[in-house]
Symmetry: C2
Subunit: 500 residues, 2 copies
Amino acid sequence: MEEKLNRLKEILGEVADLNQAASLIGWDQQTYMPEGAAATRGQQAATLGKIAHQMFTSDEVGKLLDDLLPWAEGQDQDGENYRLVKVAKRDFDQATRVPGSFIVRQSQAVAVANQAWVEARSKSEFSHFLSHLEVIVDLAREYVTFFPPAEHPYDTLLDAYEPGMKTAEVQAIFNTLRPQQVELIRAIAARPQVDDSFLHLDYPEQAQLDFSLKVAREYGYDLRRGRQDKAPHPFCSSFGMDDVRITTRVNTKFLNTCLFGTMHETGHALYEQGIGHTWARTPLASGASSAIHESQSRLWENLVGRSRPYWERYFPELQKTFPSQLGNVTVDQFYKAINKVQPSLIRVEADEATYNLHIMLRLELEIAMLEGSVALKDLPVLWNAKMQDYLGLTPPNDAQGVLQDVHWSWAYFGYFPTYALGNLVSAQLWEKFRATNPDLDDQIRNGDFSSLLSWLRVKIHQYGRKYEPQELVQRVTKSKIDPAPYVRYLQTKFSDIYGL
Amino acid sequence: MEEKLNRLKEILGEVADLNQAASLIGWDQQTYMPEGAAATRGQQAATLGKIAHQMFTSDEVGKLLDDLLPWAEGQDQDGENYRLVKVAKRDFDQATRVPGSFIVRQSQAVAVANQAWVEARSKSEFSHFLSHLEVIVDLAREYVTFFPPAEHPYDTLLDAYEPGMKTAEVQAIFNTLRPQQVELIRAIAARPQVDDSFLHLDYPEQAQLDFSLKVAREYGYDLRRGRQDKAPHPFCSSFGMDDVRITTRVNTKFLNTCLFGTMHETGHALYEQGIGHTWARTPLASGASSAIHESQSRLWENLVGRSRPYWERYFPELQKTFPSQLGNVTVDQFYKAINKVQPSLIRVEADEATYNLHIMLRLELEIAMLEGSVALKDLPVLWNAKMQDYLGLTPPNDAQGVLQDVHWSWAYFGYFPTYALGNLVSAQLWEKFRATNPDLDDQIRNGDFSSLLSWLRVKIHQYGRKYEPQELVQRVTKSKIDPAPYVRYLQTKFSDIYGL
């Protein structure tokens, strides 16, 4: 059995090498690739993906997993061997249940649908996208049929991003959360608005990049095993825990884009850099789920980076960097400005208090689409009604409404809820850490993030995908994913800022 | 047969994708990779190399090649199909003749020998490297035994870099060349030396990089399909003809390093960018040989970039870029300075008139090593004697003598002669082009390189590896590789500069 385990590890290692190389050439595509290389790069990526898939889904791997699973389970259910085999088996099933012919059909449909979505959004005409969305939704329904029946068909889609998570759990969480967030937003709307005009002055690019890199380094981002580059869309990409890179976008007319974008990607990067070397070149060398990953990016972006103690420490430096823009601004004014709450149409620009509502709206529509309880042609009307209901706004056109996100054209059904779940988990972890670190604000005020990072490393990062998300949150906080800490966090923070 | 050909192309295409991905992650390693990622990157590269090798050397490929070769040869010996199959068959034989166990042993020996060489050079103690060199030479002798007997065992080593080239041909060429270059150097040494002190002033890095990139662009380097980055050692790397990148090193105390280094790498890049798309994703999508590649880099670096008409056009711009350093220098002074001839100990710093002698010395020693006609322990003494003989210098220590080059520690036997052969071919092409372009100097003086580049594209670049080097040179110049044009070039140029 040891021999079989070693053989499995050998194959998984080579598959990991191929996947990491594929990620790296993808990173290059977003950062330094000359434009003329796009077609060639597509072929290189397709070949790497194809060979990695062939190697991973081979009969040999299937047989090794079947032989090893009962043996490893008998050894130690919390042991490395069992967890390795279990996660590999999960991935193997996922990769082999879906026929290659389906993947080809879906890829082709996505290519066409994405093109149609780009045009539809630019013309703001949902009808231009409708027939393509129908194909994509049909494919999502077909995808579900390749898996054992679940309580709800959406479970299967969700499971790809949140292993083990059920639609009913998410709905229960969101049902608790929704009225509280709606009420909070209404209370804020009744108060005088804060001024954030100074965030929209001219901020030179290089100074923004330099400051944001310093922020990332002080958080604990290890630049011996990482780096920051510019890219049109910010992301974090890992090619093994010893090479985890972030990218950043700069808006010279808005300070937040680069600054908080970098904090966000640094949160993802700290997670990837913290995964234990035990899991190197295995399928476990990545985050437990999309939501857990998002909990880390949100924690460093919002819980730390949008906190008052953080700016008590760093605002003087920021002022020195941008004296003409911020010289006359107080730390209190700055703190309020970066936390301004304003219901808005576009999810990616939403603040902490309104963000989750954008997600809930999408989840409700996705479930209805999958169930067939909504006619797709009615989506724009439904979208606008929910926007009015949750945020008190009506999009003036589909481009700023139902067509704003790329996800559906990519067939990413099941992904949206993870954004909101990540917010909730970030607050759960924050409360838990503060319980044994009552001086957390002082730590931040001293620019000392070492206790926090060490705790996250021990409690979350090191495990990689060893635990499923609910299992992991339960282990750390003694509770499953729970909206209460996030609601408490929002209420405390915005009561202070808006004097509720 | 068409079906078999398509199947072969499919496999070769995937092998090419893997090799290009491997080159790209190698490029990243030299440019942007964080230092902590070295070990991981080594594994990724090893896996890509291993899988590409397995796919290319499979029984299926062997059988396809055996079936296709006679069929394609019967079609058209100058046709794409025959040439594709022929070159693939050559590579297949090369890859399958050498046993995997030998490659492992050689890689291990190289790893150790290279380490020993680094130490030996830093201590300037040849004895520290001797026993490792013995292993490397024994392995080179063993490598030769995997191939059919050749006229000279060195032929087999040379053939890996110069397909079809014989040791006796190179020796005949060098025997003609040597006395003429030695005589030229002696004549120059009797004349007053030119002053190049102004090349060694402070030249700020960014201005050097900007100017060199402009130089590359004006040569015709297509930045839609290429880019320039900094790296510790300059190189050109291709990931398909639509993504060909150069790297540059800057010395802020010596203008030549970045400027002529960039011209050199641009020459390589123009070749790779000019390969016909017919050969995309095939083994033919690369230069005909190391010497032909070097002919392109040398042509743009020296024949164009160190010419008087070039600087008549560009020196005023260079002066504007570096007014305090070059404001009082005339174009004549500058032209002489960048062409200063001075016998020196280190090959990579050698000028045009002395460079080939460094190569000849190495070739003679390599042949003697392979034949066993020299005791390896005597190499330092032999090296120094030849240096005295050819260049009138004696190295003060082994670090500046026999230990200066990395090649032997890498088991790169057979590579050195291609540097000198490239110089010769560059002058042959230059004479040939000038014969139908008598206004070549005016073209250069106008900053117009389009006729020259188009001619090289048509005569050399487009073919990739379709023709072997001697076949290609013969087609273009009606002569095999011939030292006479290079000698004429040197004599004309340096008679003018040194008033011989």
